[in-house]
C-alpha cells in the first residue's frame, strides 16, 4: 500500500519543521513532504501541517507575516476543499491570522516565554485528529511559546464551546482546573480549537514533542495517527 503524503510547511523562521517531519515519518503509513513557503503547489499531499517556530521572527504579531506567503493561498484552498490541516504553536497562530480558525493568540499573561510539560484534556474526540484518544483523556504535550493566550469575543467563545469546537483544554497536574493549569491566560483554558467543518485544527502545545517516552511523553502520536488516517 502506498504511503500517505503529508506536507510540512517551512516558512523562514519555522524551527519545528524537522521535529514535525520526524513525527510524521514515525507514523507507519505516512510520508512527510517538505513544502517551501515560496511554492504555489502542494504536490498532491493529502494533509498539511504548519509547524511551530518563529516565522518571520514573530515580528509584529506571531504568524501575521507568514500568513501572506504564497503557499498559504494553496493551504487555504486545500482547507476549503476539506483537506485536513493541523497547525501547531506558530502554525496555530498562522491559521488564526489567516482566518482559517477563529480568535487570536495574544501575548502570554505572564509576559514571558513559557516552556514546560503541560497536561491537556481531550475535550472533543469526534474530530479527525483526536479519535485515537479516549473521551476526556488527559494527555501531556509540552508547551513552548510567548504568544499563546487564546482570545476572542465573548460570543465567539460561547459558540466554540456550544459547538464542541474546543478540542484541548489546559489542566493541572491532577487533571483539574487549578491555578497552575493555564500557562498563558487563555480564555476558558483553551489550548486548541477546530474549525466549523472539522478539518482544520490548531493547538499551542506540541504533540510533535511528545512522540517518545524517552523525551517525556508519547501522547502526541495519536494526533499524527489521526491525521494520517483521515488523509488516507
Amino acid at each position: 500500500m502506498s504511503k500517505v503524503s503529508i506536507g510540512v510547511v517551512r516558512f523562514p523562521g519555522t524551527n519545528c519543521d524537522q521535529d514535525v517531519f520526524d513525527a510524521v515519518a514515525d507514523i507507519e503509513l505516512a510520508r512527510p513532504v517538505w513544502l517551501w513557503h515560496k511554492e504555489t503547489n502542494l504536490q498532491d499531499v493529502k494533509g498539511v501541517v504548519l509547524a511551530g517556530g518563529f516565522s518571520y521572527g514573530d515580528y509584529l504579531r506571531a504568524g501575521a507575516i507568514a500568513r501572506f506567503s504564497p503557499i498559504m493561498e494553496e493551504v487555504i484552498r486545500f482547507a476549503s476543499d476539506g483537506g485536513p490541516v493541523l497547525g501547531i504553536c506558530n502554525g496555530f497562530q498562522i491559521l488564526t491570522e489567516a482566518e482559517l480558525l477563529p480568535g487570536a493568540l495574544m501575548r502570554n499573561n505572564r509576559l514571558t516565554f513559557v516552556c514546560r510539560p503541560q497536561r491537556l484534556r481531550v475535550e472533543a474526540r469526534d474530530t479527525p485528529f483526536t479519535r485515537r484518544y479516549a473521551h476526556r483523556q488527559i494527555v501531556s504535550f509540552p508547551v513552548a511559546h510567548a504568544e499563546g493566550s487564546f482570545a476572542a469575543d465573548a460570543s465567539v467563545i460561547e459558540r466554540l464551546e456550544d459547538e464542541g469546537r474546543v478540542v484541548f483544554r489546559y489542566v493541572d497536574e491532577r487533571g483539574g482546573n487549578g491555578p497552575d493549569a493555564n500557562p498563558n491566560g487563555s480564555m476558558n483554558d483553551i489550548a486548541g480549537v477546530i474549525n466549523k467543518v472539522g478539518n482544520v485544527l490548531g493547538l499551542m502545545p506540541h504533540p510533535d514533542r511528545a512522540m517518545h517516552e524517552m523525551v517525556g511523553s508519547a501522547d502526541g502520536r495519536g494526533i499524527f495517527e489521526g491525521l494520517v488516517e483521515t488523509a488516507a
Binding site: P12, G13, Q18, G53, G57, D58, F113, V114, A146, V215
Partner: protein, 748 residues
C-alpha cells in the same frame, strides 16, 4: 571618552584614547615601516585589544592541555571539535558577553547567544544545544533584578527564536558581581566529520563576500572599550554602541550557511564577531597564509555617511564573511536568495600577505596580516600571591564554633538561597525541548541529548565557583573542572572535553594576574588528570566596577558521552525503602563553603583540595554501579554538601516520598552534612541491591557508607536531629527566586 572620527591626525592623545601604549605604538610603526593613519590605528587598537588579541593571556593559555585522540580541532578556530564516533563530531565553545550585558542586559545577553551560535555553525555544525552561566549581585537590589530579568529574557528570546534548545546552565548570586554581572553562553553543535569547515581565506584569486545583515554603527569600539576596559561611571557614554540582535536573521543565516557548506561552494567562512570585518578577514588570511583585499565601499550599509573606520570596526550582528570560488558565484547567490539574505562580493584573496583595504579607488589601510594577528604583544609576568589570601588560608575556627547553628535551620537557609534554589524561573523561559532530542533537560546535574540515528547520548554541563577561586585560585580552578566532570558522571556519562570562559578583573593588576595564572594552572592540571582536553574557550578580563573586581570566575563547559542512552541514570527513579548510599568519604571541609556564605555570611577558608585520584575512582565506581544496573537515582555532592544533595534528590522523587538521612556518629555533624569535600556522589539503590552495590564499591576500593533511605512519608528527616516537612522545604526551594523577582521592576 570620545574619539573625533573626522580628525585624521594621529596625536599622542588619540593613540592613548585608543588604549595603545607608547611601546605598542612604536611596535606598530616598526611593523608598518611608517606611522599608521587613523583608520589603521583603530584597526590595531581592536586587534591588539585583550578581547581580540589575548595579549595578557595567550602565553598562559598555551599551557592548557589541548590534544587527545578525540580532538579534531583544538583552540584557534571559531570553535573546538571532538570525535564522538560513527563519523560524527561535536563542535562547541563558550563566550562571554559581560560588559554588553551590564550596559544593556537584554540585547547584551541576546547578542552573546547570537555570537556563540555563529561560532558553531560557521564550522559547518548544526547547533543542537545552548547553555549559559550567569553571575549577578544579590536579588535584594532592584538593579540586580533588572539585570537578571532582562539577561534571562534576552538569552531565551534569542535561542528560542533560532530554535536551539537551552538545556542547562547555572546562576549564582553574590555581591562580588553586583557592579559587573557575568553572562557566559555556550553552544554545542553536531556534524558529520567530513563537513568540518574552517575559517581559511585560501586560494589567491578567490572572492570574498559578506553574507547577512547590513552594516551599521553598532558596537563601534565594542570589543576594545567594552570588553577590555573596566566598567566605570561613564559607561553611559558607550551606550550608543549597543548592538541589537536579530534572531530571525540569525536563523536564516544558520540555514543558509549550512546549505552553502553542504553544497561545497564555501572555501572558508567565519562569522563577524568582535572587531567585525577587520578581525574576520585578517584571521582568515592568517590561517591560510594569504593576504586579503577589500573594498569597503561595496559593503551594504544601514546608515548613511559611514567612514572607513566605522565600516571596518562595526560589530553589527548576523553577518558572515565567506570565501568562495568566483566561478561558483551564481550557486552562492542562489542559496543566499533562497534564504532572503543579501550576499555581496567585497574583495578577494591575494598572495602578498597584506591586509589591504580600499574605499573605492583610495587605499585606506595596508597592513601585513600577521602584524594584526600574530605580532600582538604578549605580556607575561611573575607575581606573588596577593596579600588577601594569607588570612583566608590561616582561617581555623574554634572548636564548637557551629554549636549554635541548628542543622535544619541551616538546611532551610541554604535551600532558599537563590544560588542554590530551584532555577525553574529561569529555564521555563528557555525552550528546552525544540529539536526533540532532550532526554534530560534543565533541573538535573547535567543535561542529556539523544544523538539521533545512533544509540548515543551527549551529556552537557556548565560549572564554576568564583568564591572557591577567590579563596584559592589553584584549587578553585581545579574544582570547577572536577565538579563539571561529576555532573556528567551523575547521569551516567564519561567526560570527553571542555570549553572554558575565564572571567577575571583587570590583569594589569598583580592580584588579578596571580588569580588568573593560578586558576588556569588548576584548570590545566584537572583537565590533564581527568582526561578532558580544552578545545576552545574565551578570556574576559576587566570585569570590575568601582566596587572592585568580580570573583575570579573560570566557568567550565564540559561535554561527555554515553554509549547507550538507555543506560542513563534518570533523575528521580527511587521508591520507598530504597537505600541512600554515599559514594566517597564523609564530608568535613567547610572552608569557602556555601554554609559559611549563605548561613554565616562569611567568605573565608580554603576550598577543599582536589584529589584527582579520588575523583577518578569515585567516577569509575558510579559508572560501574550504573553499568551493573544498580543505581536508582544519583546526585553529585557539591554546593551545600550531603544535606543539600539529599534534599535535591528528594525533590526529584514522587511527591509522597521523603528521605531519612543518617549522619555518622564519630565525626562532626556540620562537616558531614554541609562539608563540600570533592569526589563524592549520593545514590539510591534498592534494598535487594545494597549488598551487590557495596561489594562492588569495596572491590573498587572506594569509600562509601549507607547514609539513609527513601521513606513513604513526605518529610526530610535527619535522624537524631529532627525533621522538616517536605512540602515546606520544597516550597522554599521552588519559590525563592520567583518571590524575589515579584518585587518591583525598574529599567535601571
Amino acid at each position: 571618552m570620545t574619539i573625533t572620527l573626522r580628525d585624521p591626525e594621529v596625536t599622542a592623545d588619540v593613540v592613548a584614547a585608543h588604549g595603545i601604549t607608547t611601546d605598542e605604538y612604536e611596535q606598530i610603526c616598526t611593523l608598518l615601516g611608517r606611522d599608521p593613519n587613523l583608520t589603521e590605528l583603530g584597526v590595531f587598537s581592536l586587534m591588539w585589544s585583550e578581547h581580540c588579541g589575548y595579549k595578557h593571556s595567550r602565553a598562559r593559555l598555551a599551557d592548557l592541555p589541548s590534544s587527545g585522540p578525540r580532538v579534531l580541532q583544538g583552540p584557534g578556530e571559531n570553535a573546538g571539535a571532538i570525535d564522538i564516533g560513527d563519523g560524527l563530531a561535536i563542535v562547541f565553545k563558550m563566550e562571554s558577553h559581560n560588559h554588553p550585558s551590564a550596559v544593556e542586559p537584554y540585547q547584551g545577553a541576546a547578542t552573546g547567544v547570537g555570537g556563540i551560535l555563529r561560532d558553531v555553525f560557521t564550522m559547518g555544525a548544526r547547533p543542537i544545544a545552548l547553555l549559559n552561566s550567569l553571575r549577578f549581585g544579590e536579588l535584594d537590589d532592584p538593579h540586580v533584578r533588572y539585570l537578571f530579568r532582562h539577561v534571562v529574557a534576552g538569552i531565551g528570546d534569542y535561542g528560542n527564536c533560532v530554535g536551539v534548545p537551552t538545556v542547562g546552565g547555572e546562576v549564582v548570586f553574590d555581591n562580588a558581581y553586583r557592579g559587573n554581572p557575568l553572562v557566559n553562553a555556550m553552544c554545542v553543535g553536531l556534524l558529520a566529520q567530513d563537513d568540518l569547515t574552517r575559517g581559511f581565506a585560501s586560494g589567491p584569486g578567490n572572492a570574498v563576500y559578506v553574507l547577512g545583515a547590513s552594516t551599521g554603527r553598532d558596537g563601534i569600539h565594542g570589543a576594545s572599550l567594552l570588553a577590555s576596559a573596566e566598567l566605570g561611571d561613564d559607561t553611559a557614554e558607550s551606550r550608543p554602541t549597543v548592538q541589537v540582535g536579530d534572531p530571525f536573521t540569525e536563523k536564516l543565516l544558520l540555514e543558509a550557511t549550512l546549505e552553502l557548506i553542504g553544497s561545497g561552494v564555501v572555501i572558508g567562512i567565519q562569522d563577524m564577531g568582535a572587531a567585525g570585518l577587520t578581525s574576520s578577514s585578517s584571521e582568515m588570511a592568517t590561517r591560510a597564509g594569504t593576504g586579503i583585499e577589500l573594498d569597503i565601499s561595496l559593503v551594504p550599509r544601514r546608515e548613511p555617511a559611514m567612514s572607513a573606520y566605522e565600516v571596518l570596526l562595526s560589530e553589527s550582528q548576523e553577518r558572515m564573511l565567506v570565501v568562495a570560488d568566483p566561478h561558483r558565484e551564481s550557486e552562492l547567490m542562489t542559496i543566499a536568495d533562497k534564504w532572503d539574505l543579501p550576499c555581496t562580493r567585497i574583495g578577494s584573496v591575494t598572495d602578498d600577505g597584506v591586509w589591504r583595504v580600499f574605499e573605492g579607488h583610495d587605499e585606506v589601510c595596508a597592513i601585513p596580516v600577521e602584524a594584526l594577528t600574530e605580532a600582538v604583544p604578549k605580556y607575561v609576568r611573575e607575581v606573588e600571591p596577593p596579600a588577601y589570601l594569607a588570612p583566608l588560608h590561616a582561617w581555623s575556627p574554634d572548636p564548637g564554633w557551629l554549636d549554635d547553628i541548628d542543622p535544619l535551620t541551616a538546611l532551610t537557609t541554604l535551600i532558599a538561597a537563590p544560588s542554590l534554589a530551584n532555577k525553574r524561573w529561569v529555564f521555563e523561559q528557555y525552550d528546552h525541548h525544540v529539536r526533540t532530542a532532550t532526554v534530560i533537560g534543565p533541573g538535573a546535574d547535567a543535561a542529556l541529548l539523544a544523538i539521533k540515528g545512533t544509540k548515543r547520548g551527549l551529556a552537557l554541563t556548565i560549572d564554576g565557583n568564583g568564591r572557591y577561586v577567590y579563596c584559592d585560585p589553584y584549587r578553585g580552578g581545579a574544582l570547577a573542572v572536577a565538579e563539571a566532570a561529576r555532573n556528567l558522571t551523575a547521569v551516567g556519562a564519561t567526560p570527553l572535553a571542555i570549553t572554558d570562559c575565564l572571567n577575571f578583573g583587570n590583569p594589569e593588576k598583580d592580584d588579578i594576574y596571580y588569580q588568573f595564572v593560578e586558576a588556569l594552572r588548576g584548570v590545566g592540571d584537572a583537565c590533564r588528570a581527568l582526561d578532558t582536553p580544552v578545545v576552545s574557550g574565551n578570556v574576559s578580563f576587566y570585569n570590575q566596577s568601582s566596587a572592585g573586581a568580580v570573583y575570579p570566575t573560570p566557568t567550565i563547559g564540559m561535554i561527555g558521552l554515553l554509549q547507550d542512552i538507555e543506560k542513563r541514570v534518570p533523575p528521580g527513579r527511587a521508591a520507598a525503602g530504597d537505600r541512600l548510599l554515599l559514594v566517597g568519604a564523609d564530608g568535613a571541609h567547610l572552608g569557602g563553603s556555601s554554609l559559611l556564605k549563605e548561613v554565616l555570611g562569611q567568605v573565608t577558608g580554603r576550598p577543599p583540595a582536589v584529589d584527582f585520584e579520588a575523583e577518578r575512582t569515585s567516577a569509575k565506581a558510579i559508572r560501574a554501579l550504573n553499568d551493573a544496573g544498580l543505581i536508582g537515582s544519583c546526585r553529585d555532592i557539591g554546593d551545600g554538601g550531603l544535606a543539600v544533595a539529599a534534599a535535591e534528590l528528594m525533590f526529584g522523587l514522587g511527591a509522597d516520598l521523603g528521605v531519612e538521612l543518617e549522619t555518622s556518629d564519630d565525626s562532626d555533624l556540620h562537616g558531614v552534612l554541609f562539608g563540600e569535600d570533592s569526589a563524592r556522589y549520593l545514590v539510591t539503590v534498592t534494598d535487594q541491591d545494597l549488598v551487590k552495590a557495596t561489594q562492588l564499591l569495596a572491590e573498587l576500593e572506594v569509600m562509601h557508607r549507607t547514609c539513609g533511605r527513601v521513606v513513604a512519608s513526605a518529610a526530610y528527616d535527619i535522624v537524631g536531629v529532627g525533621l522538616v516537612d517536605r512540602g515546606t522545604l520544597e516550597d522554599l526551594w521552588r519559590n525563592a527566586i520567583p518571590n524575589a523577582m515579584q518585587l518591583s521592576e525598574s529599567n535601571r
